[in-house]
């Protein structure tokens, strides 16, 4: 069997090139693939093969062909070969899509073959989905209309949905039974509620694939496909997959009442609905489509019953239906081909003009109507016999079946009358024998199967053998029995219905099939939901996104906090009440900043909070930290002001009151959770803080009394090294972003100042806009401040100060010069390239760190030198001071760089006209 599948695959791959080389004759060659399957099935009774595939998943290529599989292989292979042969004449020789069609068709035949011989349920699902996808591609062969698109999407969605449901059913079944091999599961089916769940899910798949109520709507819509595709997919192959599944599983599943009830109810409903709709269609193909829906309903109802006779009857009907329905589709294709229409109101006189075609059509339709001596009759007799038991439930089903048969007779008559009746002569040319032959063969096969009923019985009996119920044999003549009478009733009633309805001209055909509305509503609902959800959650608003993330943070962390109660209780509110006051100042400033309308106000309030934190440091006894914090705040404010010049004075968008409240709530919640976590974390300390040893170590190893500074330049010198590197990178980044042209960047080093004065009292001219007094004052105090900064730098090891603080002071001096006199003044004050200052600083720091190496120390190790110098007296020098000098230079360079780019360069850009667009 694997060989046959491989043959199909190979044929599908070769098909496009074959078609290109041989034209449409290639289809005859390709027909050999399904024909080989037919030949093999005719000569082989049963077969089993197993090949490993994905052992990790328990997935194997387990193939098994029993009586039912054999029947299906015969149909799939035989009808497939004939339809391919038919297609060789049906399509125009120059049809551009023929290669693609041929490849897909053969591939589909292969997938179908795989489906009916698969023993592993997962493998069956694989082939099942393959047929879905391939059928979609075949349906879409030449349908470009909107209706065709809708139909294809519908078919695809419905069958994919069903397929997934079925897969879940298989998995439930397989996991429960411990195997996915049907031949294993069938003998030892687990029972219980899980079985019912599996049954319902699998039936969902089968019903959707075979277009049964409530999924009946997709099949008529899929008739946009070319006729050969319809003949194969929608008569013999794909829609039979659902029927096949029901037939395969019923022998084991019939014990489940749900299985039986669902299958029979859905089947009967479909039978009647399809028959009724078929009577109202004007398009021959749609008539057949509804006829197919109807017959599929019959098949599922019969096969789902699970008695021996019903199983046999169902199998016979599967055979009969495949033969007559594909023949009829092919006939419609011929009619369409020669006349250009399928509308039975326009067709007339074909019967006289083309007797051969008419004969084939009538023969097949008679089989559909269940007239003797055709296969359809044999099947229907058996069906009636299966339910003519006298039990009340069976009788009710029987009544439905008879009514359905009457409708079948009626639409069969309508088909014949519509396609071939009428007296008006037709102009069309009769079809060639090559086009007609496949249909004729199929119709003749229907006749042969009817005549040779005992042979068919022998072949199908093994399938039904294991089931309960009395034995039955397929035959043309059972004597004057109840079924025969019911057949007569059905034929008579059908003829009457046809006579009553044929003259009526209703435009029911324009109506979409029932169930479409429900499908549309469902789709619309999903669409609607998606749109609403998108509108609600994906507005592209950053505050909203952030709000979502913060809320989840509050929930997750909040729950963790609450769940972790009781909390540690070592709470000490403050050391001095003054801390509470300062804390309140911080809080008030923060709230004010959040409420501020103007950017400047907000920024200043943030600054206030920062200064207040500095006060907290002082209260804690850390003047050094406080100094640094205050300086950083000041520098930050200066930078902010520089940037804010280019921004609107007020925050652009003020959110509505409602959303403002929400934001306030989120903010408060996040703050509360963060504070709680900080508290828990701080109170949860159990180990001794590592910093307890720092004061002693700072003196003994670092040689300084200022612990903070020693930490920076010695204990954690590596960290500082990393941080100053980041500072350098950040400064460079700011500069390269602001200086638009790289040429500007290269020239950012100031030109020699144009003003009077040289040496240390350099000033700039042309800064007339600014206050003269301010300029003079700043020039006077500038050097004092710089001197102070140097003092801070060198005294920092033992007293508050240090390179960072010193650098900031010097930088502020520069900033004051710039604010008072503009960029020329700045250039005059610091006639150096900021980049060079930065580079020098980094070089000094790294150099100091490395300098320890030659002396046998480790990187960044510091040495203490005590000297007596003549004038200065005792000098206590620690080498890490040089490291601090590097820090100092980098801080100065950073601020200088920012003043140049955010200040001076932006001044220049603002003063020159906007770049021409």
């Amino acid at each position: 069997m694997l060989v046959l599948l491989a043959v199909h695959a190979l044929a599908a791959v070769l098909a496009p090139s074959l078609v290109r080389a041989l034209g449409r004759r290639a289809l005859y060659l390709l027909a050999l693939a399904p024909a080989a399957a037919l030949g093999w099935a005719l000569t082989t009774a049963t077969a089993t093969e197993t090949h490993p595939w994905v052992p990790q998943l328990g997935l194997e290529v387990a193939l098994h062909m029993g009586a039912l599989g054999r029947l299906m292989v015969v149909l799939v292979g035989g009808v497939g070969a004939l339809v391919l042969a038919y297609s060789a004449r049906y399509f125009a020789p120059d049809d551009a899509g023929l290669g693609r069609f041929a490849a897909l068709f053969v591939a589909f035949a292969g997938a179908m073959l795989g489906l009916v011989v698969a023993d592993d349920l997962l493998l069956l699902y694989v082939f099942w989905e393959l047929t879905t996808v391939l059928s979609y591609l075949l349906i879409g062969h030449d349908a470009a209309r909107r209706a065709g698109r809708r139909a294809a999407l519908q078919a695809l969605l419905v069958t994919t949905f069903g397929g997934l449901a079925m897969l879940v059913g298989f998995i439930v079944l397989g996991e429960h039974a411990g195997s996915y091999r049907w031949s294993v599961i069938a003998g030892d089916l687990p029972s219980g509620p899980l079985l019912t769940v599996a049954a319902v899910l699998i039936l969902l798949g089968a019903l959707s694939k075979s277009a049964l109520v409530p999924f009946q709507f997709w099949l008529p819509a899929a008739m946009a496909a070319p006729t050969p595709v319809s003949a194969y997919l929608h008569a013999a192959a794909m829609v039979k997959a659902g029927v096949f599944l029901v037939a395969l599983l019923t022998p084991a599943f019939a014990v489940s009442a749900v299985w039986q009830a669902v299958a029979v109810t859905a089947g009967l409903a479909t039978l009647l609905y399809g028959g009724w709709r078929a009577l109202r269609e004007h398009d021959l193909k749609l008539l057949l489509a509804y006829g197919t829906v109807s017959q599929l309903g019959l098949l599922v109802a019969v096969l789902g019953t699970g008695t021996r006779t019903a199983a046999l009857a169902g199998a016979a009907m599967v055979l009969a239906h495949a033969l007559f329905k594909s023949a009829l589709f092919l006939v419609v294709g011929v009619v369409d081909h020669v006349t250009g229409t399928r509308d039975l109101r326009e067709l007339s006189g074909l019967g006289r003009r083309m007797p051969a075609l008419a004969a084939v059509g009538v023969l097949a339709a008679a089989s559909m109507a269940g007239l003797p001596p055709l296969a359809g009759f044999v099947g229907k007799e058996a069906v009636f016999a299966a339910f003519a038991t006298g039990a009340p439930l069976d009788t009710a089903v029987l009544a439905g079946l008879v009514a359905g048969s009457a409708l079948t007779v009626a639409y069969s008559a309508r088909f014949v009358w519509g396609a071939f009746g009428g007296a008006k002569p037709s102009e069309a040319l009769p079809p060639g024998p090559a086009l007609l032959a496949p249909a004729a063969l199929l119709a003749a096969a229907g006749l042969a199967a009817g005549l040779a009923a005992p042979v068919v019985d022998g072949l199908l009996a093994p399938y039904a053998a294991g089931l309960p119920g009395p034995g039955y044999h397929l035959a043309l003549w059972h004597g004057l029995s109840v079924p025969l009478g019911l057949s007569a009733v059905a034929v008579t009633a059908g003829a009457a219905v046809f006579a009553a309805t044929r003259r009526r001209s209703r435009d029911a055909a324009e109506r979409p099939p029932a169930g479409t509305a429900a499908y549309d509503r469902l789709m619309h609902g999903v669409d609607r939901l998606a749109v609403e959800l998108t509108g609600a959650t994906q507005r592209g608003s950053l505050p909203f996104y952030l709000g979502v993330i913060l809320l989840v943070m509050v929930v997750l962390a909040g729950v963790a906090l609450l769940a972790g109660a009781p909390w540690p209780v070592a709470l000490r509110p403050w050391d001095t009440p003054l801390q509470a006051v300062v804390g309140a100042v911080v809080a008030v400033a923060a709230i004010g900043a959040a409420r501020a309308h103007r950017r400047l106000t907000a920024m200043i309030l943030v600054g206030v909070a920062g200064y207040a934190v500095a006060v907290l440091f002082i209260l804690h006894g850390a003047p050094d930290l406080a100094l640094t914090q205050a300086l950083v705040e000041t520098a930050t404010i200066v930078m902010f002001v520089l940037v804010l010049r280019r921004l609107p004075a007020t925050f652009s968008e003020r959110p509505l009151r409602g959303s403002r409240l929400v934001r306030v709530a989120i903010g408060v919640a996040v703050g509360a959770v963060a504070a709680a976590m900080a508290y828990v974390a701080a109170a949860g300390r159990q180990a001794r803080p590592v910093s307890l040893g720092f004061p002693d170590l700072a003196v003994s190893y670092g040689g300084g009394d200022n612990v903070v500074n020693v930490i920076l330049v010695d204990i954690r010198a590596w960290d500082t090294m990393g941080e100053i590197s980041v500072l350098v990178v950040a400064a460079t980044g700011v500069a390269s972003l602001i200086f638009r042209r790289s040429a500007d960047l290269r020239q950012r080093a100031p030109a020699p100042p144009p003003g009077p004065g040289t040496g240390w009292l350099r000033t700039a001219t042309g800064a007339a806009q600014q206050s003269i007094v301010l300029q003079v004052v700043t020039r006077l105090i500038f050097h004092v401040i710089v001197l102070f900064s140097l003092y801070l730098l060198f005294s920092g090891h033992d007293a508050p100060g240090g390179g960072f603080a010193g650098g900031l002071v010097a930088a502020l001096a520069l900033a004051v010069r710039y604010l008072a006199g503009g960029r020329d003044e700045l250039n005059a004050a610091a006639p150096v390239d900021a980049g060079k200052v930065l580079g020098t600083g980094l070089f000094v720091s790294v150099g100091t760190g490395l300098a320890a190496l030659p002396f046998g120390g480790q990187i960044l190790q510091s040495a203490i030198v005590d000297l007596h110098l003549p004038v200065l007296g005792h000098v206590h020098l620690v080498t890490s001071t040089f490291f601090d000098i590097g820090v100092y230079l980098i801080v100065v360079g950073l601020v200088l760089d920012i003043l140049r780019s955010l200040g001076a360069e932006m001044d220049r850009q603002m003063s020159e006209p906007e770049e021409a667009a």
Partner: protein, 510 residues
């Protein structure tokens, strides 16, 4: 003070990370010193060559199981597998990134700092050679990812997270066209990503307080027997998880994904969708399986809920999307949900199935974005879905490829999408998480709808006047798409070798 002793370092085991890091630094130097014209070929060769070299080292080191460099990095089955996967996907992404024949100058802006809409900007859009700094950036991101999946302590993991994230933020902003969209995407990604990183760090701090260390084994031992308050553990884990789930785009931290995927240059989107996802899930697996195994019963319901939410959000919102990149973004969210199902399974199959899924999804999504980059009109890529109508007529091959990829996303058999969903769901059933599987199947049904709609639109609509043309791809994009499609098919038909590999690789060293 006792002497500091250097911990032993297994350089061979670390070599993939080191190689990429070195290559990225070299790339920066090339930017500084190579003449402008030579930069693109040199950078491209350097980046791909470096990645291949790193991949070779991963293969050579395949049997290494070691915790090295002071317990900071664990080179074990999962990390080697994930590193290999990231490198493979990264090489394919680099092919997409390096493509320059689709559009004069490539998909990246020539100078990122130019004001949008200015005269210079218009000039550069006409075909100035694109930025070549993208290569070092991408390689830095790759090296960060390699470290991320191997990090054995939370601080190393955080550093790796930043090393991989920062270049990505930048890369997002570098689109040649629709630059405002691209910059907005980068800004959103950066801001939200910074918050996520901050949460991660906060979580690390709390966990340090709990366990007295940031090493994953240390945390594991502390979970078993710590005297500290459980609040620290749970709050720390929650914050840590937020940081990681943000990276893998799990709901409700997914909000950035559609905007960023849409705005970023398509090759970068592909890179993020494939590689970042692998890295994020790799780290998530390691954290949950190694450090927090002891509290799995506590976090499983939470992660499970997030998984369900992610699947629902991804699949339902995908239905209404009109832009192919946004559609793929939601699809990636939904896939994150399926991956989480594997993570929550909390058994060995959970690990191996997640690994398999990551690789399979990565290749498919790379190919999909490769195709997206080919469908263009005069204004660049035509991503609106209505423009794809009738593409099957104009260029059947491309449409066929995309159809196949969509089917793979939908989980149709014989594609890797089916096998990967199957293994993940199977692991979840084994792990007793059937409710996740039910949600997974239902959402699979929903999300099949948009995929199938794209297919139908491509094949069954008449090409309109506005249906864009398909550019003839250069060999690099062709190769990337080809590799992606081939992998999708191969992993769907013969998944056994990779399944074996993931199974062998699914044990973490401790």
């Amino acid at each position: 003070m006792e002497d500091l002793n250097l911990p032993p370092i297994d350089y061979a085991a670390l070599s993939p990370i080191l190689i990429l890091f070195g290559v990225a630094c070299l790339g920066v130097l090339v930017e500084a010193f190579a003449p402008r014209r030579a930069r693109h070929p040199v950078q491209l060769v350097l980046a791909i060559g470096g990645s291949v070299a790193a991949l070779v080292m991963v293969v050579l080191e395949r049997n290494t199981r070691v915790v090295t460099i002071g317990d900071a990095v664990a080179i074990d089955g999962p990390s080697l597998f994930l590193q290999g996967a990231i490198l493979l996907l990264g090489i394919v992404s680099l092919l997409l990134i390096g493509e320059r024949s689709l559009e004069a100058g490539g998909p990246f802006v020539a100078q990122a700092a130019l004001t949008v809409g200015s005269e210079k900007d218009n000039r550069q859009a006409q075909g100035a050679p694109g930025n070549t700094e993208i290569y070092p950036l991408a390689v830095f991101a790759l090296s960060g990812m390699l470290l991320f999946v191997a990090a054995n302590d939370l601080l190393t993991m955080f550093i790796a997270l930043e090393v991989l994230s920062l270049p990505l933020y930048l890369l997002c902003a570098l689109a040649r066209r629709k630059r405002l969209l691209s910059q907005e995407a980068a800004l959103k990604y950066f801001l939200l990503g910074s918050y996520a990183s901050a949460f991660f760090l906060f979580g690390v701090a709390l966990l340090y307080g709990y366990a007295g260390g940031v090493n994953l084994q240390q945390i594991n031992e502390a979970v078993a027997a710590s005297q500290n308050s459980d609040i620290l553990l749970y709050a720390g884990l929650a914050l840590l998880a937020i940081g990681l789930l943000f990276k893998v785009a799990a709901a409700p931290f997914h909000v950035w994904t559609p905007d960023v995927y849409q705005g970023a240059p398509t090759p970068v989107t592909a890179f993020m969708a494939a590689c970042t996802k692998v890295a994020g899930f790799g780290a998530l697996l390691r954290v949950l399986y190694v450090a927090f195994e002891g509290v799995q019963w506590d976090y499983q319901p939470v992660i499970g809920t997030i998984a369900v939410l992610t699947m629902i959000v991804g699949s339902v919102l995908a239905v209404t999307q009109q832009d192919i990149k946004r559609l793929l973004a939601y699809s990636s969210i939904a896939n994150a949900g399926y991956l989480l199902v594997g993570v929550v399974a909390q058994n060995r199959e959970g690990v191996s199935s997640t690994l398999f899924y990551l690789v399979a999804y990565g290749f498919t999504v790379l190919a999909a974005f490769g195709v997206v980059s080919l469908v263009r009109d005069a204004d660049g890529e035509a991503t609106h879905l209505s423009r794809w109508a009738g593409l099957g007529r104009r260029s059947p091959l491309l449409a066929a490829i995309f159809t196949f990829l969509m089917l793979a996303f939908a989980g149709i058999p014989l594609t890797s999408g089916f096998i990967s969903k199957f293994v993940v769901f199977g692991a979840a059933i084994d792990g007793g998480q059937s409710w996740l599987v039910v949600a997974g199947v239902v959402t699979s049904m929903i999300i099949a709808f948009p995929y199938l709609r794209v297919i139908v639109m491509m094949w069954l609509s008449e090409p309109a006047e506005t249906t864009p043309t398909v550019s003839v791809p250069g060999w690099m994009t062709s190769a990337a798409v080809f590799i992606g499609v081939l992998a999708t098919l191969a992993l769907g038909v013969v998944p056994s070798p990779l399944l074996d590999l993931t199974n062998d690789a699914s044990l973490f060293v401790r």
